[in-house]
Symmetry: C2
Subunit: 219 residues, 2 copies
């Protein structure tokens, strides 16, 4: 599953899964998971830069723990869910926030706001054996060296077994699919010239680090 | 591209692209294309039945012309767009209408409402050489032998070159990706026991016919 980015056919992204983040965007806490799809054409890996489309308003960083699926999961129980996990990845759910706000106001899909090329930068595959407890991970993001998001996966509203079970009752999760599990508070704007650095770890051990330069693109 | 269903990584579905259909759902005509993503895990082909999840309210048929992409399209012009088309397929954009209405009311994504397993039944690949004019195709759907949707692709609001160009400026269209181009009026409920038959053709020539039985599923 080290090549999930090339082989995967689906990115399922959960929204509003940290209470502080739901509040900062003025959203109510969800009573059940809310999710959307990002296209696999939005994958990006180092050293490619994040290229911001011009003229679409604010674009935000959302640092997230990604789950890489190892075996097909259809209608699986919470008890069985984690056996379908191959590992993890540190991911950015880049979001055209103004377009997303417009989509919401128009009761329209979020797919464009979440789906531009390069809007899913990801780090290396982390085999699950390296992660003792996926619900006790520090996850942080800095913009130009300044800490902007600094959370812990213990603060998730819906935990991984519940998310996997819930999604698998709607759509089959297939090997190499990626599930983004929501972002902690502190989301904010990125602009050309910024450098985004982010990390995932537990009690001093670094599991993944990523770094992306931000540039403009001309269309 | 005959195996687009197995190889494709993305289904981009355009909504409200026929004026009569936008009206029947009480939606304004769009000033630019509206689109969402369906997961490739929703593909279904004959003779598999369409299995309806229980307890999610009304599920509707939407018969649509699908475009199968033949070569990568990033920021392509309308003039160049059709050179990236490999062919076509007759497709159903199955929709959990009550869930979609709830999502709209909550300003939430449509991904679940559009993304259940089996919610994208498709027919055989039609090479583009067999289609003289994709904007002059009869497209129809019957439920239990009674005509419910009977349109022509000449009534699209946004035509294929515009749709492909528009989407390609947001997300790269890759070989074997599928673009659904919207449904004509006449959408309606399907229930277990129904038989859906549909066709695509031009001046008496049948390009594709599909037939799907509808059953319940237990989760
Ligand atoms: Mg959506
Ligand atoms: Mg997010
Ligand atoms: Mg449709």
């Amino acid at each position: 599953m080290a090549l999930f980015r090339q082989a995967g056919r689906k990115i399922v992204a959960v929204g509003r899964n940290y209470a502080e983040h739901a509040k900062e965007l003025g959203n109510a806490l969800p009573s059940q998971p809310l999710f959307f799809l990002k296209p696999t054409s939005s994958y990006l890996s180092m050293p490619q830069p994040i290229a911001l489309p011009r003229g679409i308003g604010e674009i935000h960083h959302e640092i997230e723990l990604g789950i890489v699926i190892g075996s097909a999961a259809t209608n699986v129980s919470e008890t069985d869910a984690m056996s379908h996990v191959a590992g993890y990845a540190l991911c950015l759910d880049m979001t055209a926030r103004d377009l997303q706000d417009t989509a919401k106001a128009n009761r329209a899909p979020w797919s464009a706001a979440k789906g531009y090329d390069g809007f899913c930068p990801v780090g290396e595959f982390i085999p699950k054996e390296r992660v003792t407890d996926p619900h006790a991970l520090d996850i942080w993001l800095k913009v130009n060296g300044a800490m902007r998001q600094n959370g812990n996966t213990s603060d998730m509203i819906f935990r991984l077994p519940f998310l996997i079970s819930y999604i698998s009752k709607i759509m089959t999760l297939e090997p190499n699919d990626l599930v983004l599990t929501g972002t902690p508070s502190g989301v904010g704007r990125v602009q050309a010239g910024d450098v985004l650095t982010a990390g995932l770890g537990a009690s001093g051990t670094v599991l993944s680090e990523i770094s992306f330069n931000v540039v403009d693109r001309d269309y």
